[in-house]
Symmetry: C2
Subunit: 146 residues, 2 copies
Amino acid sequence: MIRTSNLEKSIDFYCDKLGLIEIRRIVNESARFTLIFLCAPDDMIVKNETIKSPLIEITYNWPDENGKKEKLGEGRNFGHLAFSVDNIYNFCERLLKKGVILNRPPRDGYMAFIRSPDNISIEILQKNSPLEISEPWVSMQNTGNW
Amino acid sequence: MIRTSNLEKSIDFYCDKLGLIEIRRIVNESARFTLIFLCAPDDMIVKNETIKSPLIEITYNWPDENGKKEKLGEGRNFGHLAFSVDNIYNFCERLLKKGVILNRPPRDGYMAFIRSPDNISIEILQKNSPLEISEPWVSMQNTGNW
């Protein structure tokens, strides 16, 4: 995931200039963000009617109600790597046993965040639907940021 | 590509803890760097004996002869996105026509760098072997950094 400060310029750049293909767009008016998922044309892989290609997620956080825009860094405004797993609880349990801190535990049965040793933010996502909400996950607190 | 300050810790994290697979390792003693390419197990795709999977490149720049280590940022030390293309000269000509600055033109017939509108660094690589070195590319100067 990489962030953008201007969706129109980004689409022009990534699709028109660079030749990537827009696969999916999520516009969330209440949370005020737009996500666009892009695929390189040669990478397009479809299995069982599902796109299995590696995707680049472009995130645009809309200005707030006062028009204040998200401030991006001077360039390398990288978001995170994301991986989906068969069972997020099993996966996170394995991480905990190996000493990894769950900065954001999968309280919702769907999403967790950890950090690499160099602090790269990594998202773990449950494949298909969220798992049933259950202990010990639902009571686990956040640690730091991600 | 993401940078690491400690290869051993990174391999432990990405492979042992996160479950990624090391696909390829390049150790360049004279230029003092190590590159490791990782693949998510479910993403492994092989076509004509070539791995076509999306890969994460981990770069470790060795300390210099005086033991001075590369300084990484406080976390989001992202490197760049990389795409390979059929003909890097045609691709770069198309980019120039669309007003994109070639920060590093493909003088070597193999590699170019541009920036997204938000300054994300993007590498363009020639598929297979480098093209024959030729004008106007070989005389084109760098612009800024990337």
